[in-house]
């Protein structure tokens, strides 16, 4: 009785659709004809799809490594100053607003005007103060636009990493750090030899969270470029297959690939949960 309504929601909205989507991924456009692995073949051979997969890989590497390491560095640095709470609140702030609002903020930051006209975007205005440097069309130039979008993602999520890593940092017993300092260890050594090894688990948890976030990234790309000019990622590709081309088979295949990519995390979570329960 207590579980009833929860069971209803979990079954109808999560378990049934997962099974159904897996099934649909083997069917054709109108979900009638069986096409075997045809949709998967498409996903791994079509040029647009491969572009999206490649971009997701770029996101995965840059976004995950930078958010986690930057979050850690900020957590360690702010730990040393008295205005820690205020500084952390500022960096955490973007987490509270929507990705859509964050995208508007950065659309204005990235705004581009040809050289010679006053720049209205802060980034190009800063660039134009250096003589001889041309303004950059951040969202249009295919050499930089993916990095610009990833930058927005980093701006949003670094605060999240910082908060969790900072809590982990506070969990390191002060005596250990004090003892190391008395023994003459430099702050640099303390970071690499004590803080980093002791926070290993927290770092892994944060990094896996970022991996999940990055695989599903959608809003930023949808709002800022709609995946045009070589910025598409798989979640946007799926949306397009669904609503622009009405090809539910391909859209489902993309979703299944997303799920397969996340399954290691699911297994990892279940194992960790079991281990935690066993301790109690």
């Amino acid at each position: 009785m207590y579980m009833g309504s929860a069971l209803f929601f979990l079954t109808v909205y999560l378990i049934y659709p997962i099974v159904n989507t897996a099934y649909l991924s083997f069917l054709g456009k109108g979900s009638k004809a069986f096409t075997g692995l045809g949709n998967y073949w498409y996903v791994f051979t079509n040029a647009d799809m491969l572009g999206a997969l490649k971009n997701n890989l770029l996101w995965l590497v840059l976004f995950t490594s930078i958010t986690v390491s930057l979050g850690l560095v900020i957590a360690v640095l702010t730990d040393k100053v008295r205005y820690e709470a205020a500084a952390k609140a500022m960096i955490f702030l973007p987490m509270a607003i929507s990705f859509v609002a964050a995208s508007v903020i950065w659309r204005f930051m990235f705004e581009f005007r040809p050289a010679g006209i006053p720049q209205i975007g802060l980034l190009n205005a800063l660039l134009s103060t250096f003589p001889g440097i041309q303004p950059v069309a951040w969202l249009v130039n295919t050499k930089v636009n993916n990095f610009a979008l990833i930058g927005v993602g980093i701006w949003i999520w670094t605060g999240f990493c910082m908060v969790i890593l900072s809590a982990g940092l506070k969990g390191i017993p002060l005596e250990i750090l004090e003892a190391a300092r008395i023994d003459g260890a430099s702050e640099w050594q303390i970071f690499w030899r004590i803080i980093l090894p002791m926070m290993r688990t927290t770092i892994i948890v944060v990094a896996t969270t970022m991996v999940i976030i990055v695989l599903k990234v959608f809003d930023i790309v949808y709002v800022m470029t709609n995946g045009n000019l070589g910025t598409e990622v798989i979640a946007n590709r799926m949306y397009k297959e669904m609503f622009n081309y009405h090809h539910f088979g391909r859209a489902s295949a993309i979703a299944v690939i997303l799920l397969l990519a996340i399954i290691p995390v699911i297994v990892f979570n279940m194992r960790r949960f079991r281990a935690q329960e066993a301790l109690q």
């Binding site: 109808v12 500022m90 702030l93 509270a96 859509v100 709002v223 800022m224 709609n226 960790r272 949960f273």
Partner: protein, 306 residues
């Protein structure tokens, strides 16, 4: 250099780095806020920082226009004007309607999953029944399943039962998507309550429901508050779920959809974007400013623990 000098130098370097990072994280939002109070012409011709040169020419006209969808109000009596502005905010084509929609979507989408999850979490934490451990592990597995796996089948069901484009459809979807996390979080909190509490209560003859309602829930208010803030912000800021299940229906579109529509309508609404984005940020910012400890707690409990 003396030891003291080195120390002083590294301290000032530390402060400089932190302040620089803080600037990088706040200046973009501040620029948007400044821009939202500049006139249409200023926004498209000069950067926001030029607005701080005298003479100041800040205005609220963008806010009026974006909320009501109307540009000009006739030069009638001020009272009439105010009334028509209010009317347009609520019923007009502007963002006032979208703000209301966001509220209509977010409040039930926060309350329903918490209600459903607290019952389930109580059962999973303190009741014995067959399949309990299996259910628990399924909830843990569902925590990170990508939403994308569910979109197509649910949309088809919605089309069949005419739930697409309705608030009810979005409420139910958000409830389901929020449940695994909500159950998991609350179950961990409930489980952490001392066992003796339950034993003495059941010795006194209290029924399960009384224990749940009179003991577990009141003791867990801080945790429930964390969860509520988390879920509310998640729904308020959501774009994907609204986009899929509400489709193109404008009169039910929340703020996020409204703004992303403005972004893609090339140029003509450019001057309204800063004000629009800020209106969508007001509520999250207030919540963040007043309830930040709860928000942080919810995040920590979810990821650092599990």
């Amino acid at each position: 250099m003396t030891g003291k000098g080195v120390r002083w130098l590294s301290r000032s370097l530390l402060h400089m780095v932190i302040i620089l990072v803080c600037l990088m994280w706040t200046l973009p939002s501040f620029g948007l806020l400044a821009n939202s109070f500049r006139s249409r012409r200023d926004i498209v011709t000069t950067g926001w920082w030029t607005g701080f040169k005298t003479p100041f020419a800040f205005t609220i006209e963008n806010y009026v226009e974006v909320l009501t969808g109307q540009t000009r109000y006739g030069k009638t009596k001020a009272g009439d004007n105010r009334r028509s502005i209010l009317k347009d905010i609520i019923t007009g084509q502007g963002m006032g309607r979208a703000f209301l929609n966001s509220l209509i979507i977010s409040i039930p989408s926060t309350l329903i999953p918490i209600l459903v999850a607290s019952f389930a979490a109580y059962a999973l934490a303190w009741m014995r029944f067959p399949g309990r451990d299996l259910l628990l592990i399924i909830v843990v597995a569902l925590l990170v399943v990508p939403l994308q796996m569910t979109l197509i089948p649910i949309l088809r069901l919605y089309n069949r039962f005419q739930l697409a484009g309705t608030f009810l459809g979005v409420w139910l979807a958000h409830t389901a998507y929020g449940l695994p996390y909500a159950i998991y979080l609350l179950r961990n909190f409930f489980k952490a309550l001392p066992r003796g509490l339950f034993e003495s209560a059941s010795l006194d003859g209290a029924s399960q429901f009384v224990v749940f309602y009179r003991i577990v829930v009141p003791l867990s208010i801080p945790s429930i508050a964390s969860l509520a803030i988390f879920q509310f912000l998640w729904v308020w800021n959501d774009l994907l779920v609204a986009l899929i299940y509400l489709g193109g229906t404008r009169d039910v579109a929340p703020l996020t959809m409204h703004i992303s529509g403005m972004m893609s309508s090339l140029g003509e609404n450019w001057h309204l974007l800063p004000a629009g984005a800020f209106i969508s940020m007001v509520l999250p910012l207030i919540i963040f400013a007043t309830l930040q400890p709860y928000f942080v707690r919810g995040i920590l409990a979810g990821s650092a623990k599990g």
